[in-house]
Subunit: 363 residues, 2 copies
């Protein structure tokens, strides 16, 4: 450890040059530097999703005065998007940025830490994770993989997606080929549709050629960037499948353990700041992007009928209950979210929701 | 500067003890330590409001490995609550934590940076500040006072408050003596009531003795702590006067300028993290506190009638327009918020709001 060397230096110096200002032992290890790799599941610098880890790296670099430098790699630059989890687990990179539900095939409960249909919105998800026991459960879930997860951004409520078929009843979901991952995809399948998973970059062409009839992606800010309005007839709301999609920063546990405490804190607090920054950015950019889509590109907004939402909610609860029954841990995670959601719904009915209504009282 | 000494040490050592690991010049100044005072407008350690600056101090201490230590003082410990702004402006303390609208008497536009009636909620306020130009305007407003403001927490939508009189129409506001500061207070006055400003600690007794008929404070989490349910008949919603009350951290500009860049970044990022942490805490604690109030203490919830909300909205717009007309800067601030709010309302109507509705589709 470097502080030993510094301490030795002072010892030697006292011996050969007499008194100087007294050394501060608190400065131990401040000299050691770390160079980390951070792999992401997003195209390098993709708006919001891809810029979040870049922001994280900049904050860490500045706060640590360069003692911890983090190089960010986009999907495919070192490993393909869906291999980020394994790469960080094995220590090929010290960090990863993505979304927990990409690892559903490997870890049954992972999806709970991105978003579940009709679950928590962004504000509630942050409340549950940081003051409701959520983060502790997430860490328990990832511990066997030598990974420590942090909340790494939130997109807010996502849109229901782009459709080339009007949805007037559940009959219109039958035979629908839709790109929709996670539990939302399973729900569409149970409703008689076909859910497809494919990377964002393939969606435009797949919509254009009719390989798929519909796709969800994120919301106006990201959707406008992909140009879906050029290849889809309708833009549906409300999003029901990802009401507050949480991104994740994962850190290899050995790499984290090797950091002195100040750098550990810097990683933790930078993650927390970036987590908020992403939501702030989406909250701001989505507004303007929606105006552009509707006013400049003539996008037609459509609301999913309540009859359809009701059935999707019923199917979602069914799928979530099966998932909860997988093992003891998924059961605890599910129970924790359910209780938090029930209580949040009761309070938000008289706070956030009631306020949204009140604000429109003279409109 | 300490790095000169370290550099000299290495120089001497090379001369007297031969080769060691090469020194890193990047570590310049890492040895300099700063001891700051942070004054708050809250009782020391008051839930949420008062614990936020304590959390900030802990994060800064850890991230800086003790190079920047921040001692937190509650209201009245060094200066009274409402003298925090001046004390930090003059450098008596390096930092303060409170709410911008406490300084309305001194700075006309300050209230825009806490909350205005029927304005932005917490998510929107954060979006506006950090990705919508709000923070830049806030800094412009505070620059003449040698202060740099940061967002320092958000309580979410506040409750309309505790009443010992039922509000069924605007006639019931006439003659109402209510503790409600800021623009909300001005609105109550214009509606024929009497608005009173007094510190939180005096409210319980004032309600008990009938000095006031009503008081707003924050929301279930903080209100339960003050025991208002023991001295008030009704708990009203929705809050219309502070839809997303933003707390502030202010830093004396000279003190900030004296920091090396890594400590500047640490202050900035710790503030950002605490800003989110406060909202997360309120989001989680308010839920449970509401249950306690209703189930254990038999609190009666009442909704303000739409007729009343409509008139309060009309009066609020009137007061806000007058405030905007004060000077060129208040005009720009007001215009910026108005545009952001309009756009956010359009997007949130099909995202957050529509989702809240969708989630209750089977309830």
């Amino acid at each position: 450890m470097r502080y030993v060397i510094i301490f030795a230096l002072f010892g030697l110096l006292y011996g050969c040059a007499g008194e100087v200002d007294k050394p501060r032992v608190a400065s131990q290890e401040v000299e050691q530097t770390f160079k980390w790799k951070l792999m992401t599941t997003w195209p390098k610098n993709y708006p919001g999703l891809g810029t979040a880890p870049e922001t994280f790296a900049k904050l860490v670099e500045r706060m640590s005065a360069g003692r911890l430098s983090v190089s960010v790699f986009g999907a495919g630059q070192l490993v393909p998007a869906f291999e980020v989890f394994d790469a960080v687990s094995q220590g090929t990179a010290e960090m990863g940025h993505g979304a927990a539900y990409y690892w559903t095939g490997k870890i049954k409960g992972a999806v709970f830490f991105t978003a579940v249909p009709f679950g928590l919105n962004a504000q509630e998800m942050n409340g549950w994770l940081h003051h409701g026991g959520g983060l502790e459960l997430w860490r328990e879930l990832y511990a066997p993989f030598n990974l420590i997860p942090f909340a790494g951004g939130n997109t807010g409520v996502q849109m229901a997606g782009w459709y080339n078929r009007e949805i007037n009843s559940m009959a219109d979901i039958k035979g629908l080929k839709m790109r929709i991952p996670g539990i939302g995809g399973e729900v569409i399948t149970r409703a008689g549709g076909t859910s497809v998973t494919m990377p964002g970059g393939d969606l435009y062409t797949s919509m254009q050629t009719g390989v798929i009839d519909a796709t969800e992606w994120v919301g106006p800010y990201n959707d406008l960037a992909f140009g879906f309005h050029q290849v889809a007839k309708y833009y549906y709301y409300p999003g029901w499948h990802e009401p507050g999609a949480m991104l994740e920063l994962v850190v290899n546990a050995d790499a984290y353990a090797s950091l002195p405490d100040d750098l550990k804190a810097i990683v933790e607090v930078a993650a927390r700041a970036v987590n908020q920054d992403v939501l702030d950015e989406y909250t701001s950019r989505n507004n303007q992007a929606l105006i552009d889509l509707v006013d400049q590109h003539g996008v037609e907004l459509r609301k999913l009928p309540n009859e359809v939402l009701a059935e999707l909610e019923r199917l979602s609860a069914e799928v979530l209950d099966e998932l909860a029954a997988e093992n003891e841990l998924t059961q605890r995670i599910s129970a924790s979210i359910k209780t938090f959601k029930e209580n949040a719904m009761a309070y938000h009915a008289i706070s956030e929701e009631a306020y949204y209504d009140a604000r429109r009282v003279n409109k």
